[in-house]
Subunit: 416 residues, 2 copies
């Protein structure tokens, strides 16, 4: 009998009806003889309700108590799911993070898992029970309740799968899996059957918000096969695998990601001396602003230009900081462009296939799209372009790299 | 520094504003140098919300999971109260039943406390913190969450006070304390400064619903001084003491209780043979019907009459059971009277003061009230009368035993 860890997020358990549907799904796996450990989030809306209660009392609530408060959300779900399973005749037991013993460090609201005691879960499985575990939470050495921060339930699921050496960790979401690009932009985007961890990491960080990055890293590190699939629709979803597919005929590109919520900042005429990049980026990071793409081109006349992107909402504050910095270091100018988009092609095949970059650039040139910034990594090429060309660029690249779903049938809309 | 355990029920913590008011009250005690352990219930309405979620999924939810679910209610309150205290600059830490380690038996939904580990609480108090404990919940030997059943938070408070040898256990409620009788019936009812445990037990079981009987028994057993007082109004409430007051001038009667939600059942012409009381009462108890007052008079003609009271809602089912029983044992008749009330006078002074019963009966005779049934215990005399005379009887007795508040000033009502 295979052991499978399944994680259902807040939307999948958002109502008692949906919890019953999850119970039906789990029952199906039990009927096929699988051992099941389920990880659940708080019912959607519940965490917001709890945060609002806290905020009404204390706008800077102590983190230890915040964890005591928020951890009740998942605790409600585990109890309800067990009730639904038992009604169907499937023995089940719920466990909080503390009861499993998911030991974490003491960093309240953003704790990291240190160790999982698998003894209790194994004995429950051996007794034929479905084990339902509260995601997002753990306990520190002193018995204090901790929470894992955003996307923590995914991390709980992956960590349990690693500790239990599960055959697979299945993350149920509201999408069918990982696509070659956003189907809202490219109609014939294909559902990927497999993707490597590295590709998934690049796609996740570039805006494919299917999985929390942290859980993907964690799964990669512990070699846990991770599958993303839909709570609401049938299908086997996308398996995130350790190994690059060996088939040489595979397309070199796996997917295309894009983001349009960034702003591009350029500091021009920066004296090209050691440490200057730090002088520019340092004060921005210190202000808590997240910096994404950074490029610095080779120096020409003893000065250089440094360009980077930040979230659009941070662009004004970034400009203010940099205008001060520019004066201090004697840079010529700070310019900000809010009307940009970032488009990235991702694929492990890039390593072995030459000509990917030039094919990308030619495709954009054919569409008359000017490239403002280019950065590359081992398995990714990102470009910054004028925002208004973003969808055109994504569609053109999707077609050029032949990522389209061969089975795609255009469907007549109601207003056709 | 004295250690005080304070318990605030669901109404007292029913909104974030009320939680803030509770924090203010606790802050006052801290300012006077007391060490404080607080026990709280779920915010009012929360338990009902959780029960409704469970019922939507499973109308017979497994008790273990019900406890996991319901225990989240108090967990929310402890976190919020600590947030309110910390905002006011009073260090505070919350603890679930499991974290304190309130060890119980394994009887889910109605567990009994076995042992309390006071080490963690003592070290938090020594560090100058207010300790906030979730009421109503504990943990069994295997780490399963348990709950203590109705009124469990009072029991938690008393048990903590006993374990910590607290100077006093204060139960905050929505009344100012224990009165000589219901002030809605007798306008000049007096607030009692003290009452003995025995009297409180008799009054509680007779309908003075200030405290859960179980917590009073528990407090009596462990000699924990218990004080009932208002969350919302100033005042020192009523202290429930071990010892009867030694002042000989004390009134013999402490209070008058009454109940009008019962029905009187009489089985007449029962053959007066050994075991017949069991044959009558046994089947009623077996059906889960709670039997209150039971009287059987001496036998005259080889038959006897057995009278008892049950909750009014159970009277039809009781009659059906007894009509079967009557045929079996050859009793003459089963009669049911729904229009009755029970009035009881309670006081430890009764033991040493003769003539209490005759004074009671004379008072009722003077008002032309017929007594249907009389039962007595060491410190209580209960009578059953026609329901329509209940208020008259309570007022007459209250006056006859001089229980009125000497400071009472009749106030003109709007419609006077």
């Amino acid at each position: 009998m295979a052991l499978i860890v399944q994680k259902f997020g807040g939307t999948s358990v958002g109502t008692t009806e949906r919890i019953e549907a999850v119970a039906d799904k789990i029952a199906g796996f039990r009927d096929r003889g699988e051992d099941i450990v389920v990880v659940v989030s708080a019912m959607s809306g519940e965490t917001n309700r709890l945060v609002a209660l806290a905020q009404a009392i204390n706008d800077n609530p102590p983190p230890r108590e915040m964890d005591v408060l928020l951890s009740t959300g998942e605790q409600v779900t585990i109890a309800l799911l067990c009730m639904a399973l038992q009604k169907r005749g499937y023995p089940a037991r719920s466990f909080t993070g503390s009861q499993v013993r998911i030991l974490t460090d003491q960093a309240h609201t953003k704790a990291r898992i240190r160790e999982i005691d698998d003894a209790r879960i194994r004995s429950e499985l051996a007794a034929g029970r479905v084990v339902v575990v509260a995601g997002f939470q753990g306990v520190d050495d002193n018995g204090n309740i901790t929470t894992l921060g955003r996307g923590g339930s995914d991390t709980t699921a992956v960590a349990l799968a690693a500790a239990l050496k599960a055959e697979e960790c299945q993350i149920y979401t509201d999408v069918k899996g990982v696509y070659t690009t956003d189907p809202r932009v490219v109609k014939d985007a294909s559902l990927l059957q497999t993707i490597t961890f590295e590709e998934m990491l690049e796609l996740a960080s570039l805006g494919a918000k299917v999985l929390q990055i942290r859980s993907v890293e964690f799964a990669g590190k512990y070699r846990v096969p991770l599958r993303v699939l839909s709570s609401f629709e049938e299908g086997s979803g996308t398996l995130i695998t350790m190994e690059e597919e060996s088939d040489m005929e595979d397309p070199a590109i796996t997917g295309i990601a894009f983001a349009r919520d960034e702003a591009k900042i350029t500091v021009s005429g920066v004296p090209d001396v050691p440490g200057v990049a730090y002088q520019v980026i340092g004060p921005v990071s210190d202000a808590g602003i997240e910096v994404d793409v950074i490029v610095q081109n080779v120096s020409a006349d003893g000065t250089t230009d440094i360009t980077f992107t930040v979230k659009r909402g941070d662009s004004r504050q970034t400009r203010e900081i940099l205008e001060r910095v520019a004066t201090e270091i004697g840079a010529r100018k700070v310019s900000v462009d809010d009307k940009i988009a970032k488009v990235s092609i991702v694929g492990v095949g890039m390593r072995s296939h030459a000509g990917i970059a030039s094919k990308m650039f030619k495709t954009l040139a054919d569409e008359n799209i000017n490239i403002q910034v280019i950065t590359t990594s081992e398995i990714k090429i990102s470009i910054v372009i004028d925002e208004k060309y973003m969808e055109l660029a994504v569609r053109a690249l999707h077609a050029a790299f032949e990522l389209g779903d061969p089975d795609y049938q255009p469907q007549g809309d109601a207003d056709d």
